[in-house]
């Protein structure tokens, strides 16, 4: 209760200031103490640990911003909300972002949310770097991605990250991804269907990958790292209008996230603890899976590689022409 008085005062003051301000839009009006509030959509996965660290350690406050997170249903919904200004930033993997850009949805990349360390694709133990996995039953006759032709494979959503990355595996192995029978299933139904043999293979994300392996299934491949190789995958993205109206706050967001990402990489135990809390998963399951990595920067060439792969596989009719200022502050 003791803190409510200054807060109320701040609210009154900010309203008074807003009333005097006149011309400037409500979106860019900072509160009385100079902080701007940014509404951020997350999807509640383990790599959200970094933004949580930035909040807990006060990195955003140092930049004069206040971050409010809310959980969005899926990346496309988050992109729609960010484009319309309902939220200021959203988490999205690069593939939904490229889909949206190909349909002329105006978006800018602000910072990296998760990804792979440089050289991760050459690691010997891919399931320690990749939180996505393609799983089959232990006794399955499927021994390589090409065998998936004519088989049913579960994905969390069509034309999204896992279908795209598994398609690349099949194609690179000499198979035809169009012959795969894709099934949309939420992760827990997918795991159950894999165990009961209703699907021949399941593409899953942490923590379901480790869960599936602990239930005796076999990891066929790590589609994420084989598709992306290295660099930022998960991104913090804003609508072009938000970038115009809140440029300074977004610079602060970017700096705070950079700091938090570096901290998370250096203090992986602390980050995993947070991941376990965010995903409501036992800590040992988190630790047995892939180790998250948080890139400090977004490189256009990493996005471009995903872009070309998408066009190569036919998910885009042609690579999207990426605008020069796609990555904020470059």
């Amino acid at each position: 209760m003791r803190r409510s008085f200054p807060l109320a005062l701040a609210a009154v003051l900010s309203m008074a200031l807003a009333a005097c301000g006149g011309g400037s839009g409500p979106a860019s009006t900072p509160a009385a103490d100079g902080t701007t509030t940014l509404k951020v959509g997350t999807i509640g996965i383990g790599s959200d640990a970094a933004i949580q660290l930035a909040i807990n350690k006060g990195y955003f406050k140092e930049q004069g911003i206040n971050v409010e997170t809310s959980v969005i249903a899926n990346p496309p919904a988050g992109i729609a909300a960010a484009q319309s200004g309902q939220i200021d930033l959203t988490y999205t993997p690069s593939i939904p972002l490229l889909n949206a850009l190909s349909q002329n949805v105006p978006l800018k990349i602000i910072a990296a949310a998760d990804g792979y360390k440089d050289g991760a694709g050459k690691s010997t133990d891919l399931n320690r770097v990749d939180d996505t996995g393609l799983l089959v039953q232990k006794a399955s006759s499927i021994s390589r991605p090409k065998d998936l032709e004519g088989k049913s494979v579960s994905v969390p959503a069509r034309k999204a990250q896992l279908e795209v990355t598994v398609s690349k595996l099949v194609k690179d192995d000499g198979g035809d991804p169009a012959k795969v029978n894709w099934m949309v299933l939420d992760p827990s139904s997918a795991l159950q269907s894999l165990n009961s043999g209703r699907v021949d293979a399941a593409s899953l994300v942490a923590p379901f990958t480790s869960k599936a392996m602990s239930e005796g299934n076999r990891l066929l491949a790590s589609p994420g790292v084989e598709f992306f190789e290295q660099g930022a995958i998960g991104l913090w993205v804003s609508g072009a209008n938000t970038v115009k109206s809140k440029e300074k706050a977004l610079q602060g967001f970017k700096a705070a996230i950079q700091k938090a990402n570096a901290y998370a990489n250096a203090h992986i135990e602390e980050a995993q603890q947070l991941s376990a809390e965010i995903t409501k998963t036992p800590l040992d399951v988190v630790k047995s899976g892939a180790v998250n990595y948080w890139p400090e920067d977004v490189r256009t060439e990493d996005i471009e590689r995903a872009n070309e792969n998408l066009a190569d596989l036919g998910f885009l009719s042609a690579p999207v022409k990426l605008p020069g200022d796609l990555v904020f502050g470059k």
């Binding site: 349909q103 949805v105 069509r158 029978n181 099934m183 299933l185 139904s189 159950q192 269907s193």
Partner: protein, 254 residues
């Protein structure tokens, strides 16, 4: 005739307004109607007609037919056999409160995610409105009507088929109409999981990959189908219940 003109005219006016207002739209989420109509033609006439439209409609009608027969049959038994009514009544009111869409994941774990799951979800969701309306309809049949039946010594079969069923028919048809709408909603919801075939699945996929023109085309198609199915149903109702509609008109005129 004039009512009919107004009824048909309003949507047409709206469409015309939509066409011109959206003509120069650059908003990726609200493309011009011209683009949407173009995609509508490419998608549904007739490339995906057999593989998706007919598939969805097949599930819809099969599920609805099962729900209609089962609903009327269970409704009759419940209304006519008191012990069954005492047993079933609380259960019905418990089950009908559960949103049918919430049951889809449970059906997946029980019966997989093929056509059976979709038809079962539709049938189960659409069952309750018809069944409850049937029970109400039979309970509302007047005692004098049943007394006459007894005086004429009609058999049980004759009483059910020739007296109860026609007398409860107006209520049963109201129940069927609600069931049809529920079936339509669950048809779309049941396509969100499993193999991505069907109108609902295609529309959802278009939405998630930002193909907004395709999404709007799917929504238009769903609207048109919903409208046509309702028209067909009204025609059927008018045919079957012509005696009832006629008697009501007479009563009003008197």
């Amino acid at each position: 005739m004039r009512n009919w003109l107004i009824g048909a005219g309003a949507p047409v006016l709206l469409l015309v307004a939509w066409w011109f207002l959206s003509e120069s739209s650059l908003d990726p989420f609200f493309p011009p109607l011209r683009t949407i109509v173009g995609r509508f033609q490419e998608l549904w006439l007739f490339e995906h007609f057999q593989s998706d439209v007919l598939l969805s409609l097949g599930n819809l009608f099969l599920g609805f037919a099962i729900a209609a027969f089962a609903g009327i049959a269970i409704g009759f038994v419940t209304a006519l056999v008191p012990p069954v009514r005492w047993m079933v009544d609380p259960l019905i009111h418990f089950l009908r409160g559960i949103p049918p869409v919430a049951l889809v994941p449970i059906f997946i774990s029980l019966i997989g995610f093929g056509t059976q799951m979709r038809v079962t979800s539709i049938a189960l969701a659409a069952l309750f409105p018809t069944m409850i309306a049937t029970v109400d309809g039979i309970r509302g049949v007047g005692n004098d009507l049943m007394d006459v039946a007894r005086v004429y010594r009609l058999t049980r079969r004759e009483r059910v088929l020739n007296i109860l069923l026609p007398a409860a028919a107006p209520q049963i048809f109201s129940g069927l109409q609600v069931s049809l709408q529920v079936a339509f909603i669950v048809m779309i919801a049941s396509e969100m999981l499993g193999s991505s075939q069907g109108i609902g699945a295609m529309t959802l996929l278009a939405q998630q990959s930002f193909m907004t023109a395709d999404m709007w085309a799917g929504i238009l198609l769903l609207g048109v189908i919903g409208f046509l199915v309702n028209v067909l149903f009204s025609l059927l109702r008018r045919k079957v219940l012509s005696w009832y509609i006629g008697s009501r008109r007479m009563a009003r005129a008197a």
